[in-house]
Symmetry: C2
Subunit: 372 residues, 2 copies
Amino acid sequence: MTAVRYAPLPDPFRMTRGGELRHAQVAYECWGTLNRERSNAILLFTGLSPSAHAASSPENPDDGWWEKMIGPGRAIDTDRFFVMCVNSLGSCFGSTGPASVNPATGKPYRLDFPELAVEDIARAGFEAARSLGVEKLDTVMGCSLGGMVVVAFAAIIPDGARRLVSISGSAASSPFAIALRSVQREAVMSDPAWSRGNYADNERGPQAGMRIARKLGTITYRSADEWRDRFARGGLTPVGKQSVSRALQRVPEGFGPRFAVETYLESQAEKFVRVFDPNCYLYLSRAMDCFDIAEYGDPGRALARAGLSSALVIGVESDFLFAIEEQAGIAERLSAAGVATTFARLPSIEGHDAFLVDIARFDAAIRGFLAG
Amino acid sequence: MTAVRYAPLPDPFRMTRGGELRHAQVAYECWGTLNRERSNAILLFTGLSPSAHAASSPENPDDGWWEKMIGPGRAIDTDRFFVMCVNSLGSCFGSTGPASVNPATGKPYRLDFPELAVEDIARAGFEAARSLGVEKLDTVMGCSLGGMVVVAFAAIIPDGARRLVSISGSAASSPFAIALRSVQREAVMSDPAWSRGNYADNERGPQAGMRIARKLGTITYRSADEWRDRFARGGLTPVGKQSVSRALQRVPEGFGPRFAVETYLESQAEKFVRVFDPNCYLYLSRAMDCFDIAEYGDPGRALARAGLSSALVIGVESDFLFAIEEQAGIAERLSAAGVATTFARLPSIEGHDAFLVDIARFDAAIRGFLAG
């Protein structure tokens, strides 16, 4: 059973950095009820890797990636709001992306997919809302990559939303984040199984490279302090063979996983590699590098287009991938654009991923803002 | 011309975690003059990647990796001290390591090299000093991996040194650092050209994997703040084809280097891959993971063996690979062992590599200590 629905995009869908898509679509899921005025919609953008399945529903009872935040009486209250979560354009969970079939050739786009921009994800997501007759959102919200997407949204969608929530996002990637993503992509592209994007499927694709990319991602999603608490170093931790990927089982004794933290990375990588398309990963990763709100000139004007009345920007002090100064920068720019902006600086130790883990703090911040 | 000399190790040289080496040696370089009492020797241990060439000399006028710190009148004053820098046991710049010929087979050890421990590096380095008749060092000093080696030295070499300087080191690797190194090694071992260690030479070895490992290392050696200052993001920076490795020249347009920081990583990787043996890299990297002074029990006793009278521990606030709490931990343990210990907490923004860059601050701290 699936809760996924599909919104067709305007045809052709012109991409920000050139090229266009034909017969493209965006996958989304919904919770709650759209009111008669169609004025109670919250549009949620995800981080790089999740699907639109942010919460469970009768059609798909599995927990979603933000299960504890969305539902009746929860911070994002589906008794009051109609909540939509979109799978990003360029991703591989139902939205059109490099793994989708190119209608012009009948074959997957792969590297023929046009360059993806964060702005394309914003516009495609908004089109999903429009397909339901929503012309102005109550709130546009996003986490991580999604926290960038909503910044793009504010700059390019005229009168698109009344309120904005940007969580652990950025208005322009830092050289540090660009460097990390560059290494992640190189791991994928250096894997001979990548074959310049022409692998047959995930199973026969650049699994070794994707595994490295995901492990590195996992390292940057948390903080060293949290890891110290979680994986007390102790002695050498015995690791069962079955929990180690085939790649690492071929590794000589002494060089396979010995520490609990290595086993944790293995399990994270294993999950990701099974479901995520490598070319989609490359496109989404590069899109983040290239986003820069400075392209829109004066901040006081850049973020005024969406006609926002208020905004909440959340940053986490221990986030070293999207440093808190970056969220402070988003808040400053929104203020400069005349938006009544609250900046929540959270002391969570869970780093970039805190919004998935430190539910109590995020619940309080978001609940308070949406109630206002 | 070379300034490198070689000290034979006791034969056999028994390794801390089992196994032994036959006819092993340590490569070293020297500056200054050993006094008649042989009491003015400073023994310097390096980070993971440098050779023993810490400074220039008539025999090798090329700048060394710590050129500005060592010489007449410099912080490590060769008018006063006899300075030796050793290439770590297990490395590939003249000391015995996995790339050396195993006298038992006439072929390189490769993965038949016994497991390497940080303690082995400490003992082998001290043997180099003993080969010159030095039975007690004036000062044992080390940076990064070397900063760990000197901690091991304090625990295992009876009356080995009067003073100790540990720079950006650790008494036990953090789960965060273990995780990062684990990903670096996986990049090397996932490269099919690694061939379980049986590559013909660096040129035909796991260059793609080594490149990823080094780029990731480079990212962790500095701080996000320093990178922001250095690589103002700006727009897209055009990158010349010739400055990009062959691996990345095969990458499709849009996915090769676009930003200045990516070009910087390329140049760092290119240099490293040419000179560093991949198996040696794996052994040294794993040795760091497994070092834990807690194996020696009570800190008050653990670090007392070397008979130190004083110590200087230096940490850098922006170092996120070897966090400053780790250096504070070394200082605490040395104090508990009855050593008069100074802890210098430096506000440099250059992260783990600050000792190579922020010479003014390190010069002041080390000069002051050595003068005392």
